[in-house]
Symmetry: C3
Subunit: 138 residues, 3 copies
């Protein structure tokens, strides 16, 4: 077995932007030469998260609306009060979704479903430069 | 270190069915011969997810009721409008729970709690044939 | 590649306590000598979970309030009725957050964001002795 590491760097608008990082992950997996294993995808930062979804405008919009409904940006939060901050909802959404997913590699390709993409969600309330860490194990 | 890959194939009824896949994961781990490492369990598809729960009728029923309360199947969603589809709630539930979990292997056995099972949740609104990818690393 | 396993043992108060386990994970990673790879962190038990968050009093309090709002401890649950139990909400919160996260190791250090800590959430309704399993792969 071996390990290959890569980084994806991207600029986001924040505010719940959902970025498809599948091609970036695929490139790192292909460069690794690993035929069977997993790609561990991790969003660096406390207000970003990783999951999979069908990355089409409807599902993306629905996911953003869901999180705004469950965790409204404008509600009263202790994080904001104690730290003179405005992004408590972003911390909560990121903690709920979680920062990592592990994607299988089968015959050298990502073992995703047909309509399943790997996405980064940036919940912060301002544009951010983001790093996604990808470790290919296999 | 080495990597061993296996697939679990199962037919589900969809509609939030919660399937205990622990025995299937355990079988793949035992065949691998790996004594210390992790089993990466991944649900292939955009409307399925993996987590752990006590797989007894009460907790399963409560989890289904929770997700229906948070993400009602009958609400208005852009995914359904734009794609003439009916399973937007399934996409959202799957994205919220996430497709992968990594289960520790300790002394050749799954390092789960006594009441903790690995489950696949199928949120789609029709019966489906599903694949769960298991990679054993160790 | 190699694998190194460690366990963190901790006593919690339950009731949604959020414990920062970053230092414990870091110690196991440093002892492994692994410079590039991942640390797979897994909470053993059906009423605990792992995620990342900024571990400061405001965000911790907000996360506890969010989960109590989404999954109230005092609601009626089938798990409690069928098993004469009182912690159904703990099972549901744990299943929603999930038991595992994989943290990247870059140049021998945890590749977390500046304000991002690895936390265990104990949702049970009584104090518990907990085990967190950490496997370092790289």
């Amino acid at each position: 077995m071996s390990v290959h590491a890569g980084l994806l760097r991207l600029a986001t608008d924040g505010h719940g932007e959902v970025v498809d990082v599948t091609e970036g992950v695929r490139t790192i997996v292909e460069r690794s030469g690993i035929r069977s294993g997993v790609a561990v995808v991790f969003a660096v930062g406390a207000t970003v998260a990783i999951t999979t979804i069908e990355h089409e405008p409807g599902a993306v919009s629905d996911l953003q609306a869901l999180l705004e409904r469950l965790i409204p940006a404008g509600a009263v939060y202790r994080h904001n009060e104690l730290n003179a901050d405005t992004n408590a909802h972003a911390h909560l959404s990121a903690a709920l979704i979680g920062p990592s997913e592990s994607i299988p590699i089968v015959d050298g390709a990502l073992g995703l479903g047909t309509w399943q993409q790997v996405v980064l969600l940036d919940f912060d309330d301002r544009p951010r430069d983001r790093v996604v860490s990808v470790h290919v194990l296999g």
